[in-house]
Amino acid sequence: MNGIGYALIALVTLPLGAIITFIPYLTRRTESFGVSIEENYFNDPEISGMRRTYASLTGAVSLLVIIASLIAAARLDEEQLGWLMPAAVGVMLAVHLALYLRFHFRMRALKKERGLMSAELQQTVVDTAFYQEKRAYPMVWLIPHLLVAAATAWICAANYDAFPEQLIMQYGLDGTPTRVVDKSWGNVLFPVWMQLLLIFIFAIVNYSISASKQQIDAANPRASLRRNLIFRRKWSAFTLTMGFLLTVLFGAIPLQQLYGFDIGILLALFLTFVAIILLWAVRLGFVTGQGGSRIRLPEDASAAAAGKVNRDDDKYWILGQFYYNPDDPALFLEKRFGIGWTMNFARPLAWIIFLAPVLLVAALIFLVERG
């Protein structure tokens, strides 16, 4: 195990641990553990106690898992190492999910017992001009990505004969080749297929950021509207930049294969890009919070609360995580626990979008495997 292997483990597990630990603090103040409450209960001692318990337990377990994987990495052989990262991530996510469910059910009971949501004050507020606002960066920002993919395709095609007869498709965590295949058009162009797939996925993500339904706070509509627009634009910029970095990364693979420079350079590039993406995502998560709820606005102090609360839509959220509302024509909407967007699973299109990338990646790997 070399330094790069350790760096990779730390690079993936540390940001993941940070995010899952602090999720309750990044979510909207009107939604605790997937249960909608009035904002003024956010700082209720019982509820903030639940957040603290969740965060300290998740944080402690994450830290233990990270330390254990770094120690274990030194003692494992190559085959076992391949399982280390998925296992560490799996344990962290399992703990996160188990604790979430525990607190979700406790929160539900608490809401019922103490009536944390007034029925009379519920309101949904919408701005009729919302879709005239700039919600995401336009799709022309994907042109640089497409140009990089085109250049990669051109380099691969023009130099096909110069590629070595055997292509290394996979490296172990210690930097040794673990899978080698015979050259074919399919696997020489593999980075290009991946680039196109990524561009397609990021186009959908960027579209969902702009198309996601408006969810503004009935207690403070104007300010939450502005926060939400800032939130969307920042994450749209992040998505498009991340897409560009990954496209460039895949563009570097055929260059390495062609010119045979040290694989360490490619790995360093990979680690740098992944580090930039993950750190940016964590930073953005803490700056914006879900829906922009953590963004400070200059007019916050003067804004008077309207004395209204959001509509209680708990019954449409299965376990507080999966939105299922056949009456709602919306396809994309904001998550309830965590940062980002989810889909209305009562719409068939949601299932198609959910499964399409999985099926496409599977198909791609299958085709390239067969050469």
């Binding site: 029925a119 519920q122 919306a330």
Partner: protein
């Protein structure tokens, strides 16, 4: 313009919707020719059935408050509403009768009633400047 929908209210959602759009036009918050969200977008934002929004838009369209184009979507009527002609006056009169009748039944003072009408009227005309 901000539209607020109360789910606990006795007033049906499509009536709340169309009433608020008319109020927005009266107060000047909705400008002539201003685009309105599509039926689908508005239904999604409110998390309600398409038919509910459709019902409100159809009503507003029939009454001449909004226009619905196949390409440009829904928009506020670009030109001013026709003046309060005889037909409108007689319709208004028949619509107001039950309200006045109930106020009389509850022994509401005439001046009180007229005062209330005036206050509501001025709420819309004041913001227009």
């Amino acid at each position: 313009m901000l539209i607020r929908i109360d789910y606990q209210s006795d007033v049906p959602i499509y009536v709340q919707l169309s009433n608020q759009i008319i109020e927005g036009m009266a107060s000047g918050e909705l400008k002539p020719g201003e685009p309105l969200p599509s039926v689908r977008a508005l239904a999604a934002d409110l998390g309600i059935n398409l038919h509910t929004v459709n019902k409100a838009y159809t009503h507003l369209k029939q009454e001449g408050f909004i226009q619905v184009h196949r390409q440009r979507g829904a928009l506020v009527r670009p030109d001013p509403m026709p003046p309060a002609d005889e037909a409108f006056r007689s319709r208004l009169q028949s619509q107001m009768r039950p309200f006045v009748a109930e106020a009389v039944c509850r022994r509401m003072d005439e001046d009180d009633f007229l005062d209330m009408c005036r206050r509501i009227y001025r709420q819309f005309t004041k913001e227009e400047s």
